[in-house]
Amino acid sequence: MEGSAVAVCEILKYLIIHWKCETAGTSKGALLEGQLVISMEALNSKHQENTLHCVTTIASAGSIYGGLVLKKFLKEIQSLLPGFSAKLNWTSEEASYSQDISGVTPFQMIFEVDEKPRTLMTDSLVIKNFLHKIVMVHPKIKFNFSVKVNGVLSVEVFGTKNEPTLNLSNGIALVISCRHYVSKPKFATAELLCSRIHPVLGHPVMLFIPDDMVGMGLLGELTLTPAAALCPCPEVFPNQLNRISSVSIFLYGPSGLPLILPGQEQPTTTVFKDTSYFIDWKKYHLCMVPSLDLNLDRGVHTLLTTHLSAILMESHSAVQDSIQVAMDQALEQHHQATKDLQKFQASLSVAVNSIMSIVTGSTSNSFRKICLQALQAVDTQEFGTKLHKSFHDITRHRSLPYCSCETKQQLLPEENAEENTEDVQENSLELLAGTSGQVENKRLQQGLEETRAFLSARGPSQSEAAACRTKPTAASLTPSGSRASPGGDLEDSLWQREVSNLSEWLNPGPEP
């Protein structure tokens, strides 16, 4: 990750952790609520060619609980950003040098950097990704993110207004609207039949912290809570064969912040490269081809992120059991639905063949004629084809089994969709795991109580790594080492994913 994105992410993390600490004593379990504005304004640099001078502002739109002590804040942020050259300027008057912890404190911070246009684009995509992950577990926090390049403005709001959530404990709630987990649906109509995912929670697992990490300052209790869900909801396409095409794994740390994992070159990343370390995929007749970029969100969150792999390995058996239970439940309905559909199709095949046997074997001209005319077929071969298709079309809109999901307008396939009696809907499997506990480090010694949150490390998207494919898909992500090169695979894949939201980038203003 480059400088601006790292700085923005670290500042936002600091703010959120601060909120959590401040609200923990007053309203335990309440969701964090607030609004932050992040803006990046870039103009062509007057001093360097092909460079933009970018001013980044982070401000609170409303109030922030408690007061921030500027000196402490700046010192801690600087320690988290050792390689960051820009100067952080706090522009909030009331909070300057204030020790007050009871009043409301508007907050505004600015820093300026010079960077290449491509880098700015990447930074903005990374920040968007980060904001997206935060609002998934902090539904009441809203981010206004704007990027202005040489006068061309792009604004995006990250929030989950009035969306359904699954409340967990200690101020964390998981948004369950599937738009946060999938890109636009394949089928073109108004709304999905069920727009939610239905997470299945595994039982919390106490993680043992290895002795050598305790010595590094990682102390306390750590609990992992996994959750698994299929996306979209299998009820959306009950009449089609569904297959699992990808798995996304989100890891969140305490306070509900996405965990940033260490670099791929480090040997301790085994557990994140090979998910079968915790999940028995063969049980579901799946094989996973890892395609995980561990460096999507590089940075440092806490000591926890550095040593998370080792911690999880230490409690391998318990973690595996907990995750497997959640997975079993999440996939149970999918498997049953697949079996039911196969049974359905097999029965209809028998029915059609039996009818064909009678029609083709009949010596009654009038009977055969009536049958052919009914389906407007010229001969029995065409009759058979049309009969099969008609049965398929009629029964694909059959009554759905009871679904506890919200029901909306029924989905219709695109009219120009290629005829395929085995339309296969791809599902992705979302696995979220959260850690909670009293883990002591410098930042959390402020009195952070036990919280349940989720560890997050972005896995491959739905269009990426496919189950049981022999080669990775085109959109697989590359290690961080190659990210520095402009036009690298990482930037392209990010760009492809976000282009619908940042279409302005396609036609920027004057050449950067």
Binding site: V350, S362, F367, A374, I394, H397, S399, P401
Partner: protein, 396 residues
């Protein structure tokens, strides 16, 4: 051809002859046999046309973009059954139905299997060949799963098309046996001569096809169990009580055995008696012959013989004959449940003597097999019990 000359004197059958006269008088009063409702024999073209009509209906639904479905009478629901003492259990005219839909996961397989068997029947009728239910099952045992599924669907089709199974060219394997004073020709011309000796003839599989039945029998004895039947054969019962006919269904009777009993009654109107164990199961089997079964109620007119009388073993005989208590068996919980169920059936109300016998059984909580009579003497059944019952009218 003369029959075996052995048998009691003519006076032995006085009571039987009187009984027969009263049965014939009752028939005349009732206007003869009720006209056959429900299923009737159908010609091949009728069967083919009927199946084509069903297929046409399905294709019309499909063409209208509607999911086709079969509408099947609920054959096995008591609420669809009415009782007439001249017929027995039969399906009510307006009975409830159920739909076998093609667009429901629960019923799509049955929908498909009905079509599968319809297509097989179509081919059988077209080719004028026959197959048993077992044959049909084995054409694709994996698809059907088990024999019961096939049996039920065949009955459903028979009920839906209102045609007896034989018209659909589906035979059921006969397990019953006949012995005694009876001759007939099978459909293929085979002459069958049932004897009074120690061997019996298997009930034919095509009852509708037999003709030229000839008998001098004074009565027809339905025997519940094969063991009792064989015992009577060994004791030359048919000769001793000649002229008579004996039939056994070896337990719950199959369709052909029931059809044969019905045919013998319809042809000769001779008294028909049941010899069953004094237990709820035996009573139920006797009721099947007399009044019919729930499952086959749609074919009651072809199967039931309401004129059947209960000859033995009566629960009251147990006490009357001082059958040793240690030969009796306590009723099990299942026996008691079955007895309660039979007592609640609609036909018991018009059989007060039967009800009384069942109440004796319920009160004593004991049952007895016919074989209990051997404790009195080894041939008590064929030499004493049955002859006395028949001579003195010991039936109810």
């Amino acid at each position: 051809m003369a029959f075996a000359p052995m048998g009691p004197e003519a006076s032995f059958f006085e009571v039987l002859d009187q009984h027969r006269a009263s049965l014939l008088a009752a028939l005349r009063r009732g206007g003869g046999e009720p006209a056959g409702r429900g299923t009737r024999l159908a010609s091949s073209s009728e069967v083919l046309g009927s199946i084509e009509s069903v297929i046409q209906g399905i294709i019309t639904s499909v063409a209208r973009n509607e999911a086709p479905a079969f509408t099947i009478d609920n054959r096995s629901s008591w609420e669809n059954i009415k009782f007439e003492d001249s017929v027995g259990l039969q399906m009510a005219s307006h009975c409830t139905t159920r739909k076998i839909k093609s667009d429901s996961l629960k019923s799509v397989k049955k929908f498909a299997l009905i079509l599968k068997i319809l297509s097989m029947i179509y081919k059988l009728v077209q080719s004028n060949t026959y197959a048993t239910k077992r044959d049909i099952y084995y054409t694709d045992s994996q698809l059907f799963g088990n024999q019961t599924v096939v049996d039920n669907i065949i009955n459903d089709i028979s009920c839906m098309l209102k045609m007896p199974r034989i018209s659909l060219h589906i035979l059921s394997t006969s397990k019953g046996l006949i012995a005694g004073n009876l001759r007939y020709l099978e459909e293929d011309g085979t002459r069958v001569h049932c004897t009074c000796g120690s061997t019996a003839v298997a009930v034919p599989s095509n009852i509708q096809g037999i003709r030229n039945l000839i008998t001098d029998a004074k009565f027809l004895l339905i025997v519940e169990k094969d063991a009792t039947f064989q015992r009577l054969l060994d004791d030359s019962f048919c000769n001793r009580m000649s002229p008579c006919i004996m039939v056994t269904g070896k337990g719950v009777p199959d369709l052909n055995t029931r059809l044969l009993v019905k045919k013998l009654w319809d042809t000769f109107h001779i008294p028909v008696f049941a010899l069953v164990d004094a237990d709820p199961h035996g009573i139920e089997i006797m009721c099947i012959y007399k009044y019919g079964s729930l499952a086959m109620s749609f074919e009651a007119h072809n199967l039931t013989v309401p004129a059947i009388r209960w000859l033995g073993l009566l629960p009251s005989d147990i006490k009357r004959l001082n059958i040793p208590r240690d030969t009796l068996i306590p009723l099990t919980k299942q026996d008691q449940m079955k007895l309660e169920s039979v007592l609640k059936r609609p036909y018991v109300t018009c059989q007060p003597f039967w009800r009384k016998e069942m109440e004796i059984m319920a009160d004593s909580k004991l049952k007895a097999e016919i074989q209990a009579l051997t404790f009195l003497s080894s041939d008590y059944l064929s030499r004493v019990y049955l002859p006395n019952k028949l001579k003195f009218g010991g039936w109810i």
